[in-house]
């Protein structure tokens, strides 16, 4: 057996879980010279030390010795011992420093576990010497309009984004990359906006277009393409953990979930203002104008997991609400309020009370369903007035004929024997048996004739009922409930309710919002969710716009200005360009929360158009590209890979919207289910050629080709997909039935009998990579096909298929420059 190798990297390799994060920080710190003149940032440098090492005994939950480091007031106060832990500007009087370096086992702090590193002690000391500024976390301060930086290069002064980026690069002594190659740029724009590549012809045309606005004209066309919504809608679907089943043993279907998915895609295609988009999802049933569309949007509340037989039903109710609150707060506010479900948030100023007060905003939201009726809470009838009228008329006709028949039946029954009469009062089946057998004999001729007529009429009415178009249903908040009183739950347990709470917004958003929310409506729905939506999308909300523009930036550049896009709190990563973030957020509000306007703004910047070339001089200064000196190249997403393969061989079915489809899954994949094939349908080949965003998302049976390329687990919100590069991906692209089938189609799309091998190579590269093949590639491609045929006696067609397969495996196909 191999032994456990140990290398110097382990401290870092293990730093992800954050229990070791400080190790990583320490190791990093050793590479860096600490400059005594540097101003220590309380939030970034000091507070994490206090939180990690001191809060357990001197924090929000416990204030041993009368000392609590979680607020300025209590941290600077006199402790029970009479000493002061922190005395601004006076390191020697600050007890905290004496304690953290003390070697006396009774004095030392922390009393157990690792000591503070030398660097951490120095950080504390310098912070105190510098005046112990107790600053507020950036994200909890209002957005600020900064003046645009003045930059020396006029090319970088036109677009404000460029001015901010150039300025930050300049301060670090860096210059930005040159503009990207035209072909790279067009590919980038196409994939970013639609998730599909440009054709070789489109690239050639673009390269020949000398118009200064050529790119923006392309962008404009892409923004008008319905494929735009498919790409950007998918980002949103990741965030709201979109799936079409409930998980757990039965993993039951969520009927009409796809209509919510289409709602999302359509909203992006229509450039629906983000504030409206949010309001419809949170309160589509409470708006001034409630429409089919806004009701479909409330499908937002129906996307989560649901256990149809929970062991603890009361807890399950709160788990479901927590799932909604967690998703809402992380996705729309960038806040991990969920951390305060069981106790006060350890790091961010979010007391447990705030969690339950905010939870009260959702107090009228019903559960997905119950075992007895799994539809009533989640299926909304949105049939047209006309259809409703037809159904009503049919119902009325049915009632009339039934009543007329019954009248005659009762006349006949009155003449029947006592046991028969009694039988007709029993179950309907029994009654019908008696009527079928004996009614005739107890009616006169006229009655008989009339009864026969009525039977025919009844048949007609029933047939009409069957021929009516089905009622139109959407998935959403079909039933609300009387909002129940919420309490702070001790350690998150609904079995141990504590103080009652009123619906209100978290304290960190300022004192005004601490007031209980007033509600407009007392009747049909509580109006709470509408109040929440209005608060989130108000222009003064500290976070909503910042979080939204950060995501737009993220999906253009591969990472947000704040990298932790769902967490703007103190455990998140700070913005690399805070002024730019605020500028963009204010601009977004100014532009009526329009995504498309933001795309125009961003994509017209030189920052976006930079090349991805890696320069050693810049790597030396900024290896992580924190300052955006280059465009980060990226691997395509799972959907982009699958869709592009279908696109290059011409088989992509570009129909937009509609029910989901089921890609063919192999027997071995289905064998993992307890009932192989259960809940997985059959789709036509045409449907199977549709874009990946329309693949049915079954929680317990995700499509392997997609998961191999990091399609996220849909149980929890996904702020950013992993980008792994692992053997399972290579195996999928080398061996899977899907890829071989598509390579075959690619070969089949060429008129092989009229082409020599050189032309085949050129054509394959033209289709797959949208460019001309090099002479070397043609030579090598021909050699490969020759050798395959000679050594393995395969047909030319097969050799061409395999060559096509090989090109689909090239990095150039899977990566964007």
């Amino acid at each position: 057996m191999p032994s456990y190798p140990i290398t110097k990297w382990f401290g870092l390799a293990f730093a992800i879980g954050s229990s070791w994060a400080l190790n990583a920080q320490d190791i990093n710190a050793q590479d860096q010279d600490i400059n005594a003149q540097d101003v220590v940032d309380f939030v970034q440098d000091v507070k994490p030390i206090l939180a990690k090492h001191c809060y357990a005994c001197h924090g929000p939950d416990d204030a041993e010795g009368g000392l609590n480091f979680s607020t300025q007031e209590t941290a600077f106060a006199e402790a029970d011992s009479g000493a002061f832990a922190i005395v601004p500007n006076d390191a020697s009087a600050s007890e905290i420093l004496a304690r953290v370096i003390s070697s006396d086992e009774f004095d030392r702090m922390p009393p157990e576990g690792d000591r503070l590193s030398e660097r951490q002690v120095n950080t504390l000391r310098r912070w105190i010497e510098q005046g112990a500024a107790w600053d507020e976390h950036w994200a909890f301060k209002p957005m600020r309009e900064s003046p645009l930086p003045k930059v020396s290069d006029p090319a970088w002064a036109t677009n404000p984004i460029d001015a901010f980026i150039y300025d930050s690069l300049n301060s670090a002594g860096l210059r930005p990359n040159e503009p990207s190659k035209r072909s790279d740029l067009l590919r980038r724009a196409f994939y970013d906006l639609t998730g599909l590549p440009p054709t070789a012809e489109q690239i050639q045309e673009f390269e020949a277009d000398t118009d200064q606005d050529a790119l923006m004209q392309q962008v404009e066309q892409l923004l008008q393409s319905p494929h735009y919504g498919e790409r950007w809608g998918r980002h949103w679907l990741d965030l709201v953990r979109y799936a079409e089943t409930n998980s757990y043993e039965r993993d039951g279907a969520k009927p009409n979930a796809w209509k919510y998915r289409d709602y999302v895609i359509r909203s992006f295609n229509q450039d629906k203002p983000y504030d409206q988009f949010i309001a419809e999802q949170l309160a589509g049933d409470e708006l001034d104008e409630v429409t089919k569309e806004s009701l479909t949007a409330t499908g937002y509340y129906r996307l989560g997991i649901w256990d149809d037989e929970p062991a603890d039903p009361l807890l399950a109710v709160y788990d479901e609400l927590d799932d909604i609150l967690t998703t809402t707060s992380q996705v729309m506010l960038g806040l991990t309020i969920n951390c305060a479900r069981c106790h006060d948030h350890k790091i961010d100023p979010i007391p447990q009370k705030d969690y339950y007060s905010l939870l009260s905003m959702f107090a009228d939201v019903t559960s997905w369903g119950h075992r007895g009726n799994q539809r009533i809470n989640n299926q909304i009838d949105v049939s047209s007035d006309e259809l409703n009228a037809r159904y009503q008329a049919n119902d009325q006709a049915k009632r009339e004929v039934d009543s007329a028949m019954r009248e005659i039946e009762q006349v006949g029954i009155a003449k029947m024997s006592a046991p028969d009469q009694r039988a007709t009062e029993g179950p309907p089946k029994q009654r019908q048996e008696v009527l079928n057998g004996k009614l005739q004999d107890h009616l006169d001729e006229e009655q008989r004739a009339r009864y026969e007529e009525l039977k025919k009429e009844k048949q007609r009415v029933e047939e009409e009922s069957k021929s009516l178009p089905p009622r139109e249903m959407v998935m959403g908040l079909a039933q609300t409930q009387e909002p129940k009183q919420m309490f702070v739950l001790q350690r998150g347990s609904p079995h141990v309710p504590g103080d009652p709470v009123e619906p209100r917004f978290p304290e960190i958003f300022g004192s005004e919002s601490v007031q209980p929310v007033a509600f407009e409506s007392e009747s049909e729905s509580a109006g709470r969710r509408r109040a929440l939506a209005e608060w989130i999308t108000s222009k003064d909300n500290l976070l909503a716009a910042r979080v939204a523009v950060n995501r737009i930036w993220q999906f253009h550049f591969g990472r947000g200005i704040v990298r932790s896009a769902n967490n703007f709190g103190q455990l998140g990563t700070p913005p690399t360009h805070p002024e730019l973030l605020d500028w963009l957020a204010l601009k977004f509000i100014d532009l009526d929360w329009s995504f498309k306007e933001m795309h125009r703004l961003i994509m017209s910047s030189r920052t976006y158009q930079m090349s991805s070339q890696i320069r050693e001089d810049a790597v030396a200064v900024d290896p992580n590209n924190d300052l955006f000196w280059k465009y980060d190249s990226r691997r395509l997403s799972a959907e982009e890979i699958r869709d592009s393969i279908l696109f290059t061989n011409g088989s992509l079915n570009e129909n937009v919207y509609g029910p989901s489809f089921y890609p063919q899954l192999s027997r071995e994949v289905l064998a993992g289910q307890s009932r192989p094939g259960s809940g997985w349908g059959q789709s036509s080949e045409a449907d199977q050629n549709r874009r990946s965003v329309y693949i049915h998302v079954k929680r317990s049976l995700l499509t392997p080709l997609l998961t191999a390329f990091d399609f996220p687990d849909p149980d929890l919100t996904c702020e950013e997909r992993f980008i792994t590069l692992q053997p399972a991906q290579s195996l999928a692209l080398l061996n899977s039935e899907f890829v071989h089938q598509q390579a075959g189609r690619l070969a089949g799309s060429m008129s092989l009998d009229k082409m020599d091998d050189g032309e085949v190579v050129r054509q394959a590269i033209h289709l797959v990579l949208s460019r001309d093949a090099t002479a070397q590639e043609v030579k090598r491609g021909c050699e490969l096909m020759d050798e395959l045929r000679a050594e393995y006696s395969i047909t030319r067609e097969r050799a061409v298929e395999l060559f096509c397969l090989s090109v689909l495996n090239w990095n150039e196909f899977l990566f964007l420059d």
Binding site: E720, T724, Q729, L734, N735, E791, Y792, L802, N811
Partner: protein
């Protein structure tokens, strides 16, 4: 290492990959590419292998290197196997007041179903074991029985999730994912977390049981099949030999190397080149791992592979040993699949059900323990046995011997990997209806597994959703010290 920005712990998903993989590989990768004649102009770049399964050091010296989890899906009855209840003798059919909770809901009492098998004492420790497990009984001196297990749910769906991921809510990583996240894999040519299913089908919730949840899919369980190509997409389609595929691969790699040469410094591209080499190697190592032709007849017979009844589970037990030998960290074998009596879920006829499933597994499990022991591997291999819960002392229906689910008290056992043998820890009441002495929760079991692998269960964490997520939950959990050697 490129990460310079000091911050608390808010690493993003992308950086996560950079960091987990970081380091392991510059040397390994460039040597690999060097051997194969790649890396020309780009050789100056500090290529990094992004393989998140690169081996990582444990927190402290581990007792176990691998885990074999024998998952008795459906929930075996503890009072009919390893939790002897002599006071129930002669009580069959008597009505008793006892609180139970199963799929039939909460009940206050019912008709006793007396354990249907005879118990005997075994080994030096004198452990009482029923006649369902005559072969496993020979190993009681190597086994620590946890007779006071409890879980949060007596319903299959959520109980399976709890046993596999520590939570009744779906979306969290499986135990095997945590192990691979914490320790990496010793054999990069094989998955680090392997799941082998019963021929009758997967368990309910299927892949959810070996999902990596919010962690990258790299850590999810890989289903290994015992027939044909063991892993999905492992074998090239018919008509393509490995040699032929090598030719294709060389062509792909040449194109990729040329592409990389104009993008010096792009680690992702280099990693993807490396991933093809790993994939290629996997195509020969994985089939070799499941090829039993090199095992002698005595071994095959030991595992019961020569008998119809035990052939299937025996094959999987032997494969588990072979995978452990090849450095696979976590292997989960399912006994039972699909629904009803295809697994241990004995609602109808207890005797028929348990005779069937014990009959299929007793010999192979005993063989696995003997084989590991004789090869000196048991010390480093932790074997865990049990289902998602146990079963009730009372009958589920008016007639018959079927028992409903019971998560108030049940038995699991562990052997090897630094676990004391001949120990029984914790008890249930005299009916086996619920744990009384030293009640244990699933999280204690999980904590013990991590501990034996050299990881502190309260430190192994993953930052997600604003929290340091842990397999064992937020509150500190101690491993079961009483059974640790």
């Amino acid at each position: 290492m490129s990460q310079k920005r000091p911050n608390f712990c808010g690493r993003t998903r992308r950086e996560f990959i950079w960091q987990t993989g970081g380091g392991f590989g510059a040397a390994a990768l460039s040597s690999m590419l060097g051997q194969d004649g790649f890396f020309t102009e780009a050789s100056g770049s500090d290529a990094v292998n992004l393989n998140p399964l690169a081996p990582k050091p444990p927190h402290f010296a581990p007792k176990a290197k691998s885990v074999i989890f024998l998952f008795m899906y459906g929930g075996p009855s503890h009072i009919d196997t390893f939790d002897y209840k002599p006071s129930m003798n002669g009580m069959d059919g008597k009505t008793v007041e006892v609180k139970t909770f199963g799929r039939g809901g909460h009940r206050k009492g019912g008709r006793i179903v007396e354990p249907r098998w005879k118990f005997k004492q075994h080994g030096e420790c004198g452990k009482w074991v029923s006649s369902l497990f005559p072969n496993v009984a020979k190993h009681v001196d190597d086994i620590a029985f946890l007779n006071s297990m409890t879980a949060d749910s007596p319903i299959h769906g959520s109980a399976m999730l709890m046993m596999n991921s520590g939570k009744v809510l779906s979306g969290s990583p499986a135990l095997g994912s945590w192990v691979n996240y914490g320790l990496g894999s010793e054999n990069e040519n094989l998955p680090g977390f392997v799941v082998m299913l019963d021929p009758s089908g997967g368990p309910i919730s299927g892949a959810k049981n070996w999902s990596s949840g919010y962690m990258p899919a790299t850590y999810q369980g890989t289903v290994f099949r015992t027939n044909g190509a063991p892993i999905l997409n492992l074998a090239p389609p018919e008509g393509i030999s490995l040699e032929m595929q090598r030719k294709l691969l060389d062509s792909i790699q040449e194109a990729n190397t040329t592409h990389l040469s104009r993008r010096a410094g792009n680690d992702d591209l280099a990693s993807r080149i490396a991933s093809y080499e790993l994939a290629y190697k996997m195509q020969s190592t994985a089939p070799e791992a499941v090829d039993l032709s090199t095992e002698d007849e005595r071994t095959l017979s030991l595992y019961g592979i020569d008998r119809e009844e035990t052939k299937d589970f025996g094959t999987r037990c032997l494969l588990a040993r072979r995978l452990v030998q090849r450095g696979v960290r976590f292997i989960q074998l399912y006994s039972g699949g699909a629904h009803n009596d295809d697994n241990w879920d004995a609602h109808g006829d207890l005797e028929l059900n348990h005779n069937r499933h014990a009959g299929r597994t007793d010999l192979p499990i005993a063989a696995l323990l003997s084989d590991l022991k004789q090869r000196g591997m048991l010390d480093e291999t932790l074997v865990v046995w049990g289902g998602e819960f146990g079963r009730q002392p009372t009958a589920e229906y008016a007639k018959g011997s079927g028992r409903d689910h019971n998560s108030y008290g049940f038995t699991m056992w562990m052997a090897g990997g630094g676990i004391k043998g001949g120990v029984s820890f914790g008890t249930t009441d005299e009916l086996g209806s619920s744990a009384v002495e030293n009640p244990l929760h699933v999280k204690h079991l999980h904590a013990t597994v991590l501990n034996q692998l050299g990881m502190n269960p309260n430190q192994l964490s993953y930052f997600f959703g604003g929290l340091d997520q842990k397999l064992v939950g937020v509150e500190e959990v101690e491993p079961i010290h009483e059974i640790i050697a």
